[in-house]
Symmetry: C2
Subunit: 248 residues, 2 copies
């Protein structure tokens, strides 16, 4: 039954170490299989690295890498002196790439088109001042942009850029390409907060997207800081029916 999983190391349904030397990948596979088959059940303590190195006729360095990666992936918990334990509920971690919209669209084989909807220099709205803990009366550049996939509306972007943090932004031309492109080029980012939520299309949004007022809209929100200073805040509204998916 498990033969397709780890063919080489499978002996009568029990995971056995092969005779030859094993790579850290091999060791990961064997250890993971033992966890999944409850040979090392939840909360149980694994043998020490030295002992495992002997069993796998490998070195501690190699075993260490295997176990370290399994811990990073959320299967194990490692503590000095206490040893390595199997996590009770595998605290798996989902990983998402955060692509540029353009990449997301072209990677899907569609044609990308960009359009600047609105550009406005204004004092920071109070909610933004509060959210980013800005000093009062900061100036921001507010932009609204549409991103199209094969000429269908794909994403509406509402962005606020703190002028004080990147004064050059006032000179930038956003009619041909979006602020994200510019920011990626110009500002080395250092810190990011990312949120996902659902909202409903208001009249304005519905007008831009191919949507009716009240339609549920999947949206993400990104706030970026550079060395502690807030740089930009963006809300991205996706076309109705958009689904973000990942496998692991």
């Amino acid at each position: 039954m498990y033969n397709d999983l780890i063919p080489a190391f499978q002996i009568g349904g029990i995971v056995a170490a092969p005779k030859g030397n094993m790579s850290y990948r091999d060791i990961k596979k064997v250890v993971l299989d033992r966890i999944q088959n409850r040979i090392w059940g939840p909360d149980s303590l694994l043998p020490g690295e030295i002992e495992l190195a002997e069993e796998f006729s490998s070195t501690r360095t190699t075993v260490n890498r295997a176990l370290r990666e399994l811990a990073e992936e959320g299967f194990l918990e490692r503590k000095r002196k206490a040893g390595t334990r199997v996590l009770h509920s595998p605290a798996r971690k989902a990983q998402f790439a955060i692509p540029l919209v353009r990449d997301e669209i072209t990677d899907a084989g569609a044609t990308y088109r960009y359009s600047l909807v609105k550009r406005e220099v204004m004092p920071a709205p109070s909610w933004l001042t509060a959210k980013l803990a800005l000093k009062p009366d900061r100036e921001v550049l507010h932009l609204q942009c549409m991103h199209f996939a094969d000429n269908e509306p794909f994403q509406l972007e509402k962005r606020w850029i703190i002028v004080e943090s990147v004064p050059e932004v006032l000179e930038a031309d956003f009619t041909a390409s979006g602020p994200n492109d510019w920011l990626v080029q110009k500002v080395p980012f250092s810190n990011l907060e990312l949120s996902f939520f659902a909202t409903k299309a208001d009249e304005d949004t519905a007008g831009f997207m191919d949507a009716s007022v009240g339609d549920p809209i999947f949206a993400t929100q990104r706030t970026t800081w550079l060395r502690g200073e807030p740089v930009t805040h963006a809300v991205l509204y996706f076309t109705p029916g958009y689904k973000m998916t990942t496998r692991l």
Copy 2:
């Protein structure tokens, strides 16, 4: 300006390598800072590992670990023979933990309460048969559960479990604790697909949540396989206003 970032290695605004030996963490910091300050700009080629090891008076092994991790984090691209390049657009990756609902609630300091709403053994609905590529006429256990935080509705869970894949599930008692707990205990998972999307509350959902019909609802969908066999499919509807957040 950058002094608070890497105080020890900062000399007049230019990143310099210190005299003593550096850990792989130190090397990561220096390399990342050089990327962010465009000393090594987008698409540029980094020196080879040996050269860097000399600069940092370290070894290739240590430099290798630093660069490998920066590549995993989406800053660099590494190829044999071609060398190490700075990625043009930092393909940053967002990581989310995938906690059990209970943990999510108790970690937030709230009291968790569970309630089984519906339990039904039924033939697999056709959409599920199609989605999971089931053989025709499989039997599934369908469950609906509510998860409360401080007695406020937090999440509505609709789950389908393929009986053939885990026959014992028919004997399990889900009145006191949820199917997720049981599955985590019982079934070593091997493969997972995770989706996020927005939907709107129908009458049924609105009745369970503290919501009005038509309210936007943030939802996630999880499908789990065990060694290629579909085990369970779940859709989790969050209370209106729920926002999933991560920092990096």
